[in-house]
């Protein structure tokens, strides 16, 4: 019926040839290998950190007043995790994602969540061609094949749970089954957004789907008057297309991100004390009362329905390691785990139904309460 785009070949750049040479020496001579390996890692880390910070700087020039959000998105990119953005209408969520997609290069697909969207709409669509013959073309998920790097699901909470289910597999396994075969997306990163203004005709994301997102980032309207003034009066920010076009395409090569992400995760080894601290933070997410956390008008023992999942905690540590790397450290500190605790944990902690309607009020208090209750050391 149709075939996806061919797999991209590994590029033979000078740096790749050099790295392969170092790998060969390392396998032949273990002592020399250790030295070269360290040198290689340091060099790679420095190069990629420079690129990452440049990428962040570029995005900050396009989407102003959202530096914390952009830093979290950058962490998610290098932790290879999916991101759920939540915020009001017109605060720059879509612009941010388009800018990220432009900077990452690769293929970008987007779908709008609607109440009548069905899973098949992501896989294929049918139409009559000019000759009047029915045709089947790949949907947004399959269209770009393995080169799909950024998949943007706009207004995800308007789609039905069946669509969420299809997305689950694509997000967690990077593959879907269609037309009697499996399609793989090794570089896919899903960005979804939902606005918090409208709740009618929306479907709350199931816990399993939320758990597959590395982060849930709240995007708020900037509060700085100078930023608001720029957004209002500077015509540069009125034309989003030309704004996005100003970002260097392929400033981060999407097909190299998995490798550097793996290297970051392998290289940064948390100390036993840090492991103990992170474990306490995890346990506190399930039983905050045990750690002395108290919230006003809340019966602490009955507050939590479910704490963070093991998958969530692995995402949490992955994000913390990327933060440490971006701060030019190979040592993981408590400040790294604290910095990503809110964005990686808030959507994984499920409040009891009686408190769920106060989630927006209670969750920030709970997260801050946990961070203020657990000491390290």
């Amino acid at each position: 019926m149709f075939s996806p785009k061919p797999k991209r070949r590994q590029s033979l750049t000078v740096s790749n040839v050099l790295l392969r040479l170092i790998d060969f020496i390392a396998s032949a001579q273990p002592c020399a290998g250790a030295f070269f390996k360290t040198m290689k890692t340091d060099s790679l880390f420095t190069d990629w950190r420079d690129k990452a910070l440049q990428f962040e700087s570029n995005i900050n020039q396009v989407v102003i007043g959202q530096s914390a959000t952009i830093r979290n998105v950058l962490i998610a990119i290098f932790a290879r995790g999916h991101v759920l953005l939540e915020g009001g209408v017109g605060v720059g969520k879509t612009t941010l994602l388009r800018a990220v997609a432009q900077g990452l290069g690769g293929s970008y697909q987007r779908i709008e969540g609607t109440i009548d969207l069905m899973p098949a709409d992501l896989i294929y669509y049918t139409y009559l061609n000019q000759e009047g013959r029915p045709c089947v073309d790949p949907g947004p998920l399959l269209k770009e094949g393995e080169q799909l790097s950024t998949f943007f699901f706009n207004e995800i909470n308007r789609a039905r749970p069946q669509v969420h289910s299809l997305l689950l597999r694509a997000m967690s396994e990077g593959s879907v089954s269609a037309f009697n075969r499996e399609y793989r997306f090794p570089h896919i990163q899903v960005f979804a957004d939902r606005n918090r203004v409208e709740r009618e005709e929306t479907f709350e994301l199931p816990a399993a789907a939320r758990d597959r997102f590395l982060m849930e980032i709240n995007v708020n309207t900037p509060v700085d008057d100078a930023v608001l003034d720029e957004l209002m009066f500077n015509p540069r920010f009125h034309d989003v297309d030309s704004l996005i076009a100003g970002i260097d395409r392929d400033s981060l090569k999407y097909y190299e991100l998995n490798d550097i992400s793996g290297l970051i995760q392998k290289t940064l080894e948390p100390s036993p004390r840090l492991r103990s601290y992170a474990l306490d933070l995890w346990k506190a997410s399930a039983d905050p009362g045990q750690y002395g956390v108290k919230l006003s008008d809340v019966e602490m023992p009955s507050l939590i329905q479910a704490g963070a999942s093991p998958r969530g905690m692995s995402y949490f540590i992955k994000a913390a390691k990327v933060r440490a790397w971006l701060n030019n450290r190979t040592v993981l500190l408590p400040e790294d785990v604290q910095a990503v605790y809110h964005v990686t944990m808030a959507h994984r902690i499920f409040l009891a139904p009686v408190y769920a309607y106060r989630k927006d009020e209670l969750m920030p208090q709970l997260i801050n309460g946990i961070l203020d209750a657990v000491a390290a050391p």
Binding site: V331, L333, D372, A375
Partner: protein, 312 residues
């Protein structure tokens, strides 16, 4: 041959005259010496018996006698010759005997008697005399203390005033009390001052239950002094816990600015705190800490500075 002439006879006569008058002169001189010289001083050179008025005593009154005795050197009083404390007879007892040597030869003896005689009319009584004995080598010397007569009076009312055939009795007039207001004021002031001082000290050292925050680093410092330099991890934990307690929540390096807003007095040791948190991060999370005597001393110094800051 020498003849015994008149000259020889004259010489002999002259010498015999000298001897005759010389003997007379010697006897006369001795007589004068004996006549002019005093005999040996007596062993008790001075004895004075000082007594109070011999009248106007009533039952229960105390009578004090004082003996002043000056002796020759080498003479010592035998204390056994003094009356013993306690009852002398049925109405007289010796309350106190004090022997006070004033100098090598001079002593004062004070005797306090108490009278328990209840006379129905004025009556003459006597404190019995006794003999003081002194010792000089083997020789014993005695000094008589004479008896002392006095009168005691009854304390009951004259017979003219009687009620219902019974002797009229009434208590003593109530004495006017000396005003104790000033003493009470002084006592209250002293107590208030003491309490305020105690309160201030307790506040300063954080002994109040509600103000335990002022003794956090004092306790940490005491714990730190018990540790050895090789227990650096424990020392770091103790200081971290002290900061966490003071901050009401865990304190991390990246939250120091917030901490300074709450406790601005700690800003003056900002560089030390920066060093502490960097060192702690290296030790606990970096896995490659450089530990030496300098670090240990720096930790002790930091804790001591924090003690001073928390005390204000």
């Amino acid at each position: 041959m020498r003849s015994a002439g008149p000259f020889y006879s004259a010489d002999k006569c002259f010498i015999s005259q000298i001897l005759k008058y010389g003997r007379f002169f010697l006897v006369y001189s001795l007589f004068l010496l004996v006549a002019c010289s005093e005999g040996l001083p007596p062993p008790i050179e001075r004895f004075e018996f000082e007594t109070p008025k011999p009248f106007g005593y009533v039952i229960g009154d105390k009578i004090r006698h004082r003996l002043i005795i000056e002796t020759r050197s080498g003479i010592h009083l035998e204390s056994a010759s003094l009356p013993t404390k306690g009852d002398l007879n049925r109405w007289l007892s010796v309350d106190q005997i004090t022997v006070r040597p004033v100098s090598e030869h001079l002593s004062e003896i004070e005797l306090t008697y108490q009278v328990f005689y209840a006379p129905l009319e004025v009556k003459m009584l006597s404190i019995p005399g006794f003999t003081l004995r002194f010792k000089q080598g083997e020789q014993s010397i005695e000094q008589l203390v004479p008896e002392w007569p006095f009168t005691v009076s009854p304390i009951h009312e004259l017979g003219v005033r009687k009620e219902d055939g019974n002797t009229y009795r009434r208590p003593d007039a109530t004495p006017t009390l000396i005003s104790s207001q000033n003493a009470w004021r002084a006592l209250s002031g002293s107590l208030a001052l003491g309490m305020i001082s105690g309160w201030l000290l307790a506040f300063r050292y954080g002994y109040f239950i509600g103000f335990s925050r002022r003794s956090i680093f004092s306790r940490a410092n005491r714990q730190l002094k018990k540790l050895q330099p090789n227990e650096l991890g424990l020392a770091l934990m103790i200081i971290h816990q002290a900061f966490n307690q003071l901050n009401h929540k865990p304190l991390f390096k990246h939250r120091l600015s917030e901490f300074y807003r709450r406790r601005p007095e700690f800003k003056e040791i900002g560089p030390d705190l920066e060093w502490f948190f960097n060192f702690s991060n290296d030790y606990f999370f970096g896995g490659n800490p450089s530990v030496g005597a300098d670090e240990w001393s720096a930790l002790r110094r930091l804790c001591q500075r924090c003690v001073e800051l928390e005390r204000g």
